[in-house]
């Protein structure tokens, strides 16, 4: 797809309508139909070559949001399965990390965090629960909000998110933050967990869609070694429906050819080398360490922790708590039936879970996937849970006569 620069007005449209033009460019159902047909052809070829249905994985809650929001799965070929992997940073934040934040809040330290994180329970209560008991927990929309709070008091910013948001946290730490500002990092780094998925026994995944916003930072080149090592293709994708369809066509065409290359289908934002300044900031502040991702596994180099030079900003070192002492026993009978881990690993779908939509809802989540706006279960619940709708003809006559 030749998208052109963002905001550019396509030929034939009046000038002065950049927003409307951008919508037409990336949300044009007529172009989606053409891409949908290309996707069907590519899937047919891939099935011919491999003798099995095509399964690909994306690793981003925003991709799942767009797929569900625009009803894209209803237009996918029956022989194509697009599954969501561990693409929700709040969902993969591990129990001891939540427990640490809860313990700090209970000690009277002001803990600032993103709204989604509030309702994720640790081994015991969630940050929201202890806020209800009077512990100082503040919801922030960005690290800038946390910095503003820290101008007047000591604040522990419980920071979650992948390399995209980690850069913002790193930049804040390098920009002479207020003395009371500390970070409890639950930041995660996506490339290593793709290795885990690729090495899973019985893996069905034949290729990955990589998240465009993360690749804006890391560059598409970060996936080159991965492709070569695992003989799996990776296509970088943006978040508009046409971005996703175009990237899927490119990915399935690679599966059909048996190739395993990095293909950047989000070139209006992503380059091969990425944002070098952001990378420099990220790695100056954080170092990758191994750690558990909730429900999945120990991920070598999957967690981002503050380097020694920032020890004085590291809440983990300034206010050490022993997470083991906080654990409040075995999970409940209901939680034991939750298949969240398998869903995040891409082995199960939300509809495979006996709790989905019944005992587990956004209001009363059992698993972390139902808590966050980026969690697979939450997204499926928001958009009806049944994703395999038939391919019926358009509902209303198309006034422009574009109906295929």
């Amino acid at each position: 797809m030749n998208a052109g620069p963002p905001g550019a007005v396509p030929p034939g449209l009046p000038p002065g309508l950049p927003a409307a033009a951008a919508r037409l460019q990336f949300r044009d159902p007529a172009r989606a139909r053409a891409l949908g047909e290309a996707l069907h052809r590519a899937v047919d070829r891939a099935v011919d070559r491999t003798g099995q249905p095509v399964t690909v994985m994306h690793v981003c809650g925003s991709h799942e949001q767009a797929i569900a929001r625009y009803g894209l799965r209803a237009s996918f070929p029956q022989a194509l399965e697009v599954i969501m992997g561990p693409g929700c940073p709040v969902c993969v934040t591990d129990v001891p990390e939540v427990d640490e934040a809860v313990a700090m809040a209970r000690q009277g330290l002001t803990v600032a965090t993103y709204g989604d994180m509030l309702r994720v329970p640790g081994s015991g209560p969630s940050l929201g629960d202890v806020r209800g008991e009077g512990a100082p927990v503040e919801v922030v929309y960005s690290v800038a909000d946390a910095l503003a709070l820290a101008r007047h008091q000591e604040v522990v910013f419980f920071a979650s998110g992948f390399e995209t948001t980690a850069v913002a946290t790193a930049a804040a730490l390098l920009d002479d933050p207020p003395p009371g500002f500390q970070v409890l990092s639950a930041h995660k780094y996506i490339p290593p967990v793709m290795e885990i998925i690729a090495e899973m026994p019985g893996r069905r995944v034949q290729g990955f869609l990589a998240a465009g916003h993360a690749a804006t930072i890391t560059g598409s080149g970060v996936f080159e070694a991965f492709c070569a090592r695992h003989r799996l293709p990776v296509v970088v994708a943006g978040f508009e429906p046409l971005d996703i369809l175009a990237a899927l066509v490119a990915l399935v065409e690679q599966v059909a050819r048996g190739s395993a290359e990095v293909d950047n289908r989000f070139p209006r934002c992503v380059s091969r080398q990425g944002n070098l300044r952001a990378q420099e900031i990220l790695w100056r502040v954080f170092r990758p360490v191994g750690g558990r991702w909730r429900g999945i596994a120990h991920v070598p180099n999957g967690n981002l922790r503050l380097r020694d030079a920032f020890a004085h900003r590291d809440a983990r070192r300034q206010h050490p708590v022993d997470p083991a002492s906080l654990c409040q026993g075995a999970p409940s009978a209901l939680a034991a039936r939750c298949v969240c881990g398998n869903i995040m690993a891409g082995i199960a779908a939300p509809t495979d879970c006996p709790l989905f939509g019944g005992a587990c809802t956004p209001d009363e989540p059992v698993g972390a996937c139902m808590v966050s706006m980026e969690g697979t279960c939450r997204i499926w619940q928001q958009y009806g849970g049944q994703v395999r709708l038939g391919r019926e003809p358009p509902l209303l006559p198309d006034p422009t006569g574009r109906t295929a």
Partner: protein, 351 residues
């Protein structure tokens, strides 16, 4: 490698009332059915009573019906872009009467409960706005009540209005047949997004205005043009268009096919919804009506609506079908998905 279960503790059912029990969705309907309707009266089959869970009640009076309804308003902030709790509390009741078919409004009652310390200037503004809306709606305020509670016992102001009107024919919210067309009287999502953006301090307030308005004249014009061809009406308040459509097909063996490209949206709503990640189909409107219309009446109803100041952007947005009974299916232009009635309370105190 072993994959462990997700180790979250589960929470038991609550023995306390939760916010979602006032959110207009399934949880609220369950509370009403399980508790409030347990000993509710029965009415004659041609009348509408509490068990019908419609927008109001209708009882026989001569050769027509007396329609009555009541509505409590708790919106935060009380003064919001495009309106205030005074205008809202008139429109809430007038619109519930209108969508039952009662466009001849006999009178309203207004009960105001205030918190000690509430600004007198704000109260004067709210009251003036309430009177203006009542005049605009042709709905006289006939009596009322005033209470003040101690500071902290109430958040600012609560206004409860009740109304009675006359209808020649009662139009229920349910009454659809397969093939009926669905018309919305204008853009959707304006009220909810205006209130939410004001609360979040997004700086979009100048562009985003609540649509709060009395729809009595709009409904009267539609009924005049469509007659018996209008089979159901509903005002899409809490739960938005999605919630209204779910209620309209509730308990029937019908589904709705909704065409997203046909749903009217203002540009500020489109932009704010995108920015906030909120689906404009599920947020409240306070000056809109959804009509279910026999196909042969569609053109006349649409023309009549578009001739009204509040109906210039009226549009056919979908059809009632026997496909996927009980579900609203959205054709996005890219594919199809289900539209789910919002559960929980994404936007508390919206009306």
């Amino acid at each position: 490698m072993s994959l462990d279960v997700c180790p979250l503790p589960a929470r038991g059912p609550s023995d306390r009332i939760r916010l979602r029990e006032g959110a207009g969705g399934q949880a609220m309907r369950e509370l009403i059915q399980d508790l409030f309707l347990a000993r509710a009266v029965h009415v004659r089959p041609d009348e509408v009573g509490p068990r019908d869970m419609d927008d109001g009640a209708a009882i026989r009076l001569g050769d027509g019906f007396l329609v009555m309804t009541t509505d409590a308003h708790v919106i935060q902030p009380a003064i919001f872009p495009g309106g205030d709790i005074g205008r809202l509390s008139i429109c809430g009741t007038v619109n519930d009467l209108a969508v039952m078919g009662a466009t001849d409004i006999l009178g309203l009652t207004v009960a105001v409960v205030l918190e000690e310390g509430f600004s007198r200037a704000d109260l004067e503004r709210i009251w003036s706005s309430l009177q203006d809306a009542a005049e605009e709606a042709g709905a006289p305020v006939l009596t009322g009540d005033t209470k003040v509670m101690r500071r902290g016992e109430l958040d600012g102001i609560v206004i409860t209005t009740s109304g009675v009107g006359l209808a020649r024919r009662v139009v229920r919210s349910r009454g659809l047949h397969a093939g009926d067309q669905l018309i919305v009287s204008g853009t959707v999502g304006d009220h909810g997004l205006a209130v939410l953006a004001a609360r979040a301090g997004l700086g979009l307030e100048g562009a985003l205005l609540s649509d709060v308005a009395p729809v009595r004249a709009l409904v009267a014009a539609a009924l005049e043009a469509g007659g018996e061809g209008i089979v159901a009406m509903k005002d899409p308040t809490r739960g938005g268009l999605a919630g209204a459509l779910s209620e309209m097909i509730g308990g029937s063996n019908l589904g709705v096919l909704l065409d997203e490209a046909s749903v009217p949206l203002s540009e500020p709503v489109r932009a704010a919804a995108e920015l906030l990640g909120i689906d404009p189909l599920i947020v409240a409107n306070e000056g809109k009506v959804v009509f279910a219309v026999r196909p042969e009446a569609t053109a006349a109803v649409l023309a009549a609506l578009r001739a009204q100041p509040l109906g210039t952007r009226a549009a056919v947005i979908g059809t009632a079908t026997v496909e996927r009974p009980g579900w609203v299916v959205l054709d996005t232009g890219f594919g199809r998905r289900l539209v789910v009635e919002p559960e929980g309370e994404p936007l508390p105190r919206i009306c």
